[in-house]
């Protein structure tokens, strides 16, 4: 049974339960609602919640666990001899899955009947050509062990799905009947419903923790996997990045880290002065007209997706820098370069820096300003000698936050920085970053056993730790600073 149909049935049962419970509660007191502990609608709510929530939870858990359990069972069934040389159990398993899917497609299209399928074996029919007819291409002929595994995979999957439907419906019905049976006029229905809802609210806020946990665990797990097949020393200390898809790659992180930091530095050199000056000018000097026009205009920059900046780097800034700076000075000839990516990323960060600086400048108490003016300082002197020093921790925090943004930025560097891993100081050369390499190692058809793919997780973990550390540091500094005035 289809999952969506199943959930619709469960929800239907719950709605039915809602009305039944309301009726039942009222009938217990002969329609005199004031004799009930709670208003009738709460009796309905209780039954609705007890019918829907446990059943849907079971459904979600089942969907999550079943594939893992079946996978484990089936891969245990495949004998080691069935795994050809140069292949891995994972590759064979993916063949098994595809064959099982192909059999479903053939049954669905009516190419074979159920009876034919039961008699089917590798010796009598060419499974490969039959599968090809429904659009499943296999690299090699199917061995008997693999075909048997596919058959049992399919069987288990079907049995699992039927069992799931049955269990979910039983849970829903049990919830419905039990909660209906427990309705009495004295039942504290409102309190029960409210506690139930509170539990759901807490559950929803736990998603944030689960997400972090998911990120950390998935990165950590695959990174450990990576370090088992590739020496950690080489990853952290090697100066070359040269992945080969046949093995024997050099996967040193240093050139990528260098490119990331270099590009981020260029971006910050652009964004920090411009963004801060914008914030200062708009807060301290600009007239009402200019502010009402310029402030939203700068904020629009913040709402533009990074892919747009990426395209801007690719088709406008990159060629411009190549034709007007790189080629005349003879320092480079590619349109993707550190300067291109850094410049465009700097533009992207301007609104970020300016809105953070705006908050910081506004947080400096007016009394400091007034004191400075009272001593005869000009406005710029007040800003430079009073406001900025007072706001320094906040400014540092803002710069760190902007740096963390720059380091994690992907699309601009994918489209503007190039793909060559290089340790170089020339800003007109193409360089590459951690994020670019995560994308290039993980896009396309990837097999999860090779170090060339797994390295992306190690890079991801590095990136995650880097940005997390910057953010924590920034928040710490900003918070500490705020305490001075409050």
């Amino acid at each position: 049974m289809n999952v969506s149909i199943l959930s619709v049935i469960v929800l239907g049962l719950s709605v039915l339960g809602f009305f039944l419970a309301r009726r039942r509660a009222l009938s217990k007191v002969n329609g005199k609602a004031y004799k009930l502990h709670s208003r009738p609608i709460y009796y309905g709510q209780v039954v609705f919640l007890f019918t829907a929530v446990p059943a849907l939870l079971v459904l979600a858990l089942w969907l999550f666990i079943q594939p893992i359990a079946i996978e484990r069972q089936v891969s245990a069934e495949i004998p080691a001899s069935a795994i050809p040389k140069g292949s891995t159990p994972q590759l064979v398993m993916s063949d098994v899955r595809r064959i099982a899917g192909g059999i479903d497609a053939m049954l669905h299209a009516g190419n074979i009947t159920k009876a034919e399928f039961n008699d089917m074996s590798v010796d009598t029919t060419s499974i490969r050509s039959q599968l090809a007819s429904v659009g499943i291409a296999l690299g090699a002929d199917v061995t008997p062990a693999v075909f048997e595994a596919a058959k049992s995979y399919r069987n288990m999957k079907n049995v699992g799905h039927t069992a799931m439907a049955a269990v979910v419906l039983v849970v829903a019905l049990a919830g419905l009947l039990l909660s209906l049976a427990r309705i009495t006029p004295a039942q504290r229905a409102r309190n029960i419903a409210e506690h139930f809802i509170l539990a759901l609210l807490i559950g929803a806020s736990l998603v944030a923790i689960l997400t972090t946990l998911g990120i950390v665990l998935s990165l950590l797990f695959e990174t450990i996997h990576f370090f088992r097949i590739y020496p950690a020393r080489d990853f952290f200390l090697s100066l070359t990045w040269n992945p080969q898809f046949r093995g024997g790659s050099d996967l040193g992180m240093i050139p990528l880290l260098w490119g990331t930091l270099y590009i981020s530095l260029v971006a910050l050199v652009v964004a920090v002065p411009v963004g801060m000056l914008i914030a200062i000018y708009l807060a301290e000097y600009a007239g009402k007209n200019l502010r009402s026009f310029a402030k939203p205009a700068i904020e629009v920059l913040a709402g533009i997706p990074t892919i747009v900046y990426g395209l801007f780097a690719l088709i406008t800034v990159g060629p411009f820098i190549r034709d007007w700076i790189a080629v005349p000075t003879g320092l480079g000839n590619s349109s993707s370069s550190v300067l291109t990516a850094g410049l465009v990323m700097g533009i992207m960060l301007i609104p970020f820096v300016s809105s953070l600086s705006d908050d910081i400048i506004n947080a400096v108490p007016q009394s400091l300003r007034d004191g400075s003016y009272g001593l005869g300082a000009t406005r710029s002197e007040t800003i430079k000698k009073v406001i900025l020093p007072a706001a320094l921790p906040g400014v540092v925090g803002a710069i760190l936050l902007a740096a963390s943004r720059a380091i994690g930025e992907t699309m601009i560097v994918v489209m503007g920085a190039g793909a060559a891993a290089r340790l170089d100081l020339n800003p007109l050369e193409a360089m590459t970053t951690v994020t670019v390499k995560i994308v290039s190692q993980l896009t396309g058809d990837t097999e999860f056993a090779s170090p060339e793919t797994l390295v992306a997780f190690a890079l991801g973990l590095t990136l995650f730790i880097f940005t997390l550390a910057l953010n924590v540091l920034a928040l710490y500094i900003v918070r500490k600073y705020r305490e001075q005035y409050e």
Binding site: A204, A208, G303, V308
Partner: protein, 456 residues
């Protein structure tokens, strides 16, 4: 503010030397320096604002200049005789047999029709061979023709007027991307073909019209930029937005209600708060890695499917929505809660009957802004296989959530990696479409806020 008189600052270095002028009206050198520095600082501020606005204008101008032309497309209008001898050899009208004729079989029809049209209008064919003349038309055209015939088998044997796509180079010529000079160096087009196109344009065989297909057609292969459209990408993005809205809004609102209205200061609450603020700062690509590792490898969901994209974007937008919702809940004054509690409502009733409805405009605004952020995000989608070349439209939901699809920003990225410069035009055009969607969403958010926001 300019200081016109010598201010009695204690740190003034001017006091070191003897003063020449004691007049209040004459500005001394030190004050002049200070005023000049003030003017310089102001100028730098103006410059910075100028740079910011210039960057915005430059960005938009570059995208518009490159992309607006993609909303127009060059078409060739030609009468094609659907030859029964080619399409339906035994005249049975059997659809299965007609379907056996591949697009290859339709090419001669187009070739013949083009030659006939040129002869009919008395245009100089520039000494081109029939094959070169037919090359003015997109390689997509035979497929268009075949689909038409399969849909209307009764038209075989008749002459039908078709609007066929001109090839990418001809289209580029009418948009100024291809010139006579560049055509000389181009293997795919010659100046003679361009001249012929000019002639055809003069007699009205060839014209440039609004390009509806850009919004509805699926992606096309590397050699057919003229046929590439955003249909699948728009549909895929819409599916993902549905998933995000269905998951992120309830989850986000529920979490915010708990944190803002019910939670007590304890370890769990602190942990949740720290997690939310950290998730808001995690680079988006890390969410892509999470999606790949958990949803695709671990849970076995299909690659390139909108459901996976939607789940990843949900996790990504959740912090945005939670932060906005909490701000909206916080903006509801405590007096409302106290009044409700005072007349005997429970805490839950207070929140759901009074606070939440009053906070709704703010919550919706936050949700729309979160959705806009999700719509423009591309990096995580690259990792979960949304870059795949997809020509099939996904089915209607809910099954369609599991079909392969593209997404708007990823389609843009995909086009920029292709060789033909015509794809850059398409990518810029697609960005205009994306920005139009974002603009609409933001305007809706602003209107919502203006209309329903209450100041207490």
């Amino acid at each position: 503010m300019t200081v016109n008189s010598q201010s009695p600052t204690s740190s003034s270095q001017g006091q070191a030397g003897p003063r020449k002028s004691r007049s209040l009206l004459a500005v001394d050198a030190h004050t002049k320096r200070r005023n000049a520095s003030e003017a310089r600082f102001q100028f730098m501020g103006k410059l910075a604002v100028g740079i910011g606005i210039l960057a915005l204008v430059g960005l938009l101008a570059s995208i518009l200049a490159n992309g607006l032309s993609s909303f127009r497309q060059t078409y060739v209008t030609v009468d094609i005789f659907l030859d029964p001898a080619k399409l339906d050899k035994d005249g049975s009208g059997d659809l299965a047999k007609i379907a056996k004729v591949t697009t290859f079989g339709y090419k001669p029809l187009i070739k013949r029709a083009m030659a006939a049209a040129i002869a009919e209008h008395g245009i100089d064919d520039q000494g081109l061979k029939a094959k070169k003349i037919a090359a003015l038309i997109s390689p997509q055209a035979p497929a268009t023709l075949r689909n038409y015939v399969l849909a209307h088998p009764d038209q075989i044997g008749k002459t039908v007027a078709f609007n066929l796509l001109a090839s990418g180079r001809i289209d580029g010529y009418f948009k100024g991307r291809v010139t006579m000079d560049s055509a000389k160096l181009d293997r795919n087009i010659s100046p003679e073909q361009l001249r012929l196109a000019d002639e055809m344009h003069r007699v009205g065989l060839l014209e440039t019209r609004f390009n509806w297909a850009f919004f509805t057609a699926p992606d096309a292969s590397d050699t057919r930029p003229e046929a590439a459209g955003l249909g699948v990408a728009i549909l895929g993005s819409a599916y993902m937005m549905i998933v995000v809205l269905l998951l992120a809004l309830p989850l986000g609102v529920a979490a915010s209600i708990y944190l803002e209205e019910f939670s007590k200061q304890n370890f769990l609450t602190d942990l949740i708060e720290v997690n939310i603020s950290n998730l808001a700062a995690v680079p988006s690509i890390v969410f892509g890695i999470l999606g790949l590792a958990v949803f695709i490898n671990f849970a076995g969901l299909p690659k390139s499917a909108p459901i996976v994209g939607g789940l990843v974007l949900t996790l990504m937008t959740l912090p945005t929505i939670i932060i906005a919702t909490r701000a909206a809940l916080k903006a509801v004054p405590p007096s409302i809660r106290e009044a409700a509690l005072g007349v005997g409502a429970s805490k839950m009733q207070t929140v759901f009957h009074h606070v939440l409805p009053l906070a709704m405009p703010g919550i919706l605004t936050g949700a729309i802004i979160g959705l806009a952020q999700a719509l423009g995000e591309s990096a995580p989608l690259l990792l979960i296989g949304m870059v795949a070349f997809v020509r099939e439209y996904p089915a209607a939901p809910p099954e369609g959530f599991f079909d392969p699809a593209a997404a708007l920003p990823v389609q843009i990225y995909n086009w920029t990696t292709r060789g033909d410069p015509a794809f850059v035009e398409r990518a810029s055009g697609a960005i205009i479409v994306l920005l139009a969607f974002l603009l609409t969403m933001n305007i809706v958010a602003i209107i919502l806020r203006r209309r329903f926001e209450r100041r207490w």
